[in-house]
Subunit: 350 residues, 4 copies
Amino acid sequence: MIFGSDNMAPVCPEAMNAITRANEGYASSYGADEAMQRVTAQIRSVFEAPDAAVYLVATGTAANSLALAVYTAPWQTVFCYEKSHIAVDECGAPEFYTNGAKLTNLGGTDGKITPEVFKAQLANYRKGDVHQVQMGSLSLTNVTEAGSVYTLDEIRTLTAIAKENGIACHLDGARFANAMVALGCTPADMTWKAGIDVVSFGGTKNGLMGVEAVVLFDPEKAWEFELRRKRAGHLFSKHRFLSAQMEAYLTDDLWIRLATQANAAGARLEEKLSPIEGFRTLYTRDANLMYCGWHRAGHERAKAAGAYYYDEPGGHPDSGPADEFLNARLVCNWSTTDAEIDRFAALVRG
Amino acid sequence: MIFGSDNMAPVCPEAMNAITRANEGYASSYGADEAMQRVTAQIRSVFEAPDAAVYLVATGTAANSLALAVYTAPWQTVFCYEKSHIAVDECGAPEFYTNGAKLTNLGGTDGKITPEVFKAQLANYRKGDVHQVQMGSLSLTNVTEAGSVYTLDEIRTLTAIAKENGIACHLDGARFANAMVALGCTPADMTWKAGIDVVSFGGTKNGLMGVEAVVLFDPEKAWEFELRRKRAGHLFSKHRFLSAQMEAYLTDDLWIRLATQANAAGARLEEKLSPIEGFRTLYTRDANLMYCGWHRAGHERAKAAGAYYYDEPGGHPDSGPADEFLNARLVCNWSTTDAEIDRFAALVRG
Amino acid sequence: MIFGSDNMAPVCPEAMNAITRANEGYASSYGADEAMQRVTAQIRSVFEAPDAAVYLVATGTAANSLALAVYTAPWQTVFCYEKSHIAVDECGAPEFYTNGAKLTNLGGTDGKITPEVFKAQLANYRKGDVHQVQMGSLSLTNVTEAGSVYTLDEIRTLTAIAKENGIACHLDGARFANAMVALGCTPADMTWKAGIDVVSFGGTKNGLMGVEAVVLFDPEKAWEFELRRKRAGHLFSKHRFLSAQMEAYLTDDLWIRLATQANAAGARLEEKLSPIEGFRTLYTRDANLMYCGWHRAGHERAKAAGAYYYDEPGGHPDSGPADEFLNARLVCNWSTTDAEIDRFAALVRG
Amino acid sequence: MIFGSDNMAPVCPEAMNAITRANEGYASSYGADEAMQRVTAQIRSVFEAPDAAVYLVATGTAANSLALAVYTAPWQTVFCYEKSHIAVDECGAPEFYTNGAKLTNLGGTDGKITPEVFKAQLANYRKGDVHQVQMGSLSLTNVTEAGSVYTLDEIRTLTAIAKENGIACHLDGARFANAMVALGCTPADMTWKAGIDVVSFGGTKNGLMGVEAVVLFDPEKAWEFELRRKRAGHLFSKHRFLSAQMEAYLTDDLWIRLATQANAAGARLEEKLSPIEGFRTLYTRDANLMYCGWHRAGHERAKAAGAYYYDEPGGHPDSGPADEFLNARLVCNWSTTDAEIDRFAALVRG
């Protein structure tokens, strides 16, 4: 009953086997391994983007920060959701990688930036005013940190506003597969067809050991990205082991299968918890991640039985006294079982 | 017959098995895994440094840059050998991580900084002169990039000069085990007992998949290091797989056995090549890495038969016309076999 | 009728004469001029801070950014008012100087951060959480950008909260003298006695050509500040001309007289405009700066007659249709005359 | 008898008068003053560069660092003379402004980089190698820090090598006027006609209070420069006082007259000292700056009589025992008198 994070989950067997298989003899280092050529071809095919530049790094923070740095000058700003990972969970990594760009936090609804909020913020910017930071990039996260998923229309509306203002668009896809499965769309639909310039295409949270692809749809940015990655110590010498994971991930739709399992687990979890008296979600659960609250006694029973998840701050006046209703973040992953979910729900219910 | 780099070699079976074993169920993420506690204890024991702070990253560039950043303010300089990895092979990573510190390149003898050169450089510094960059840190590499190994006396002499000037001392130990085996000393001898404040303790080049420990002998630097690592995207979510490698590495002296094999291969390679007419080394080979040159025909024979290694620039007036004598860097690793070496030497000899 | 900015005003005659007098023969460069020794003594005396470190720079942005950089690590955050100069008018200079620290914008009341807002923000911080930026410094501005003035109690309350959390306190005193005159207090009252660690003591907006002192009450920060200033190109070679201005400024209470004049002009301006129908201030005017709005026709009459000031965005539903009531920022300075004010008010009134 | 630095000299009367005259009433701030428009027109005319972008800052370090930052990415290197101001006298300002670019120090002859040295260094660069810092910019200084002057041919030869390698060319013209007068050429000859992309056009060392123009011959770099300048706190609010100095400087060839005087003083100084037994110059004196050495007794006599100049390190085996022959840097300026020179020479002679 571990719902702490998809980061705590094991690596899927297919990825583990691929790593083992990759350990045959010698291989060219620093990204020149043959497997990486196959990965690039796979990603280009999956994304219907034959010119895209594709690079692998091992952490989501590296993927996001490097991607943003390519598209945001030091004197520019990244527009992002106020509770996005880049804003609150990366210890200022985007600021480090961009050499001091400012993150402009935007509010919104249901964990998503709304067009109104974005436009209102942009109205503060006077074109050609040297005294203020300049508009640089927009970073969206899908699945959002709140567990909701931007629809394709929502993405397109936001990127259209960005484009009108010369703002580049980044997608933090730490849970890219989960969002895509939730939307029932293609990778292209969710990215370049929707105005995204660069995507952090996550694998780690969806069953890999530690690999994220950065996909740049403008190949002219490729060399700068390579230099930034190397300079940051994120170019792996034994790169073949990153390639192997990603190759397995993209083979036979493994990535989609894993995300489908995780999302189904998320749905089952909501389904089982919803009937419990006092239970309520804080945001729409669209994929494998849910913010929700319930009675203190239910928390205590679950934890006493070994359940693990993150407590979340915040009172809930509409559900009773704050010290009697507690919030939590529950995350399912590819390996979450129905039995775990059912047992957990039973404990919460009491 | 691959002598290109120890980075091209496979992962040793023990490390691979440890990775597989680590994939059991859930584990705390971001370095809070239990295996990391064991690794910290191992390192402290091996280094006879019960208070040392220990962190894992996946690349040598990250290890070096983060270690240097902790000890070098932006307005300070890192003294380093002019051909050291941090100076010429990291695309300016130390400059990035230190927020713009200057690397002061020092010459030397046999791939090593000499006390004379270091002292002469320090003579340029006027205490309290705000116009110049300030003295920050000294970075030594052992095994050196040239393949030689600093003796303990040499290290101590250089760090003593540094300490007199308030300069912190970093050891780039990408090939730490190879140097230690060559010296026949303990980890403590080669580090804190010799004046080293922080060491990049490499595993990747010696049979791991991608793990380097940073060992800070002053635990007061620990928190800053943690923040810098996180901010750089080098804190792994599925950290247990880094821990597992390092734990295996330090168990039953695996790391020493691997380095012993690699060094023995290096010695055999030199032994087999030395009698060949025209062959000469450019630097003393003390471990598993050798810069050397021989007749063009020998290169052509070896390469035609599938040998792989890096050609090195530079003419050799004392051995004949420059276009007839070519240099190479040859690197052995834990998996290099006697048969490979012997076959290679036979091809070079003709 | 120029109310655009105190930056547009001329230099006061005393400062201009001091500059001319300073141009006698040779002088030591880079801050080693004798006048700087006198300035340091003056500032220490005026601030009742015999150990304070004192440095001169030529711009407010340099003063603020360097001061904040000394007290805010790259992975920390500066808490500041959401419309403060450092947040919106310096093109990210604090981010540049701190090597990428984050500015956390706080709301408040009447242009001032309130203790409630500050505490609520601090509640987001989990001690020892490596994933988030760390608490670094609090920057207050007095006179605020809104034209209001923090009382001593308000400053003390905010700095006390900061100190409890290990947060350093900076005062942006671009209009230090105006605030002090408004409060009727001493420099010490408004700074170190109220918990301020470092102050940007402005002169430029109050009659100087271009000089701001940075006063660090902890002399242990002195050398780092000197290095940062030099490295940023803000150490003047012909520094004597900065010293001369500041020396004149602090002699015979010139700075207080100039601020008193400017504040009196601000008060007169409010007094003359207040009776006009529809006129209202947006924030409390406590010194020489006022945000206010009035009928469109009054704007048109004033501008047609040559008045100059900044239009400010924002509608005013309580005063009539947004296109009929327009806002403005009006700034008086040491040289503003009663005649100008009276003529301007008459034009606004119609 | 002050030969310490042209920075220690007073401001010329024409510049001082211009500053005083500029203090009439109000003026637009932050570079929008009318005088700046005239300055831009003057510079464009003087440089025969009708499209050049022109900006003023107050220090040479700011001018150099900002100019280099526009032309050098963080992962690139600036090639410069090993004793250039940017390399040894700016506390790492270029590293700070470029966000961590590396300065590659080049040796040379007579204080100048030679084509051979530059080419040899470039030979180390492998095109497309992500592991090394990339070629960014070349920075030349004229007058050199050694007191010699690059000829137009020398500049053209070096910039041609640079251009072949895609390297931008910066000229540190802290003593631009002195070099130009020495060469008897036009500003265009010494800059864009000779391959220079951006120049720091110094005024401070040649009679101004504190103004350097940065002239970018490619106007597409203008906006980035403006943003960098603002972000660094180098955009002056009362900018009119910078403009006034530069306007006076460029009016009626004042700048040329001042430099002519300073160079003539330098020549006279060499002429008077040269016949003295044991006297020798260390580099060719081409303008107002001379490195030279003479007998200890001569130093002692001069200093006892109040002469001031910088002692320089280094022994001189060809002139007698090192402790009997001491080196010095002697700098003349626009205000140096013949009487001073003659008295000084007489003291040295004894």
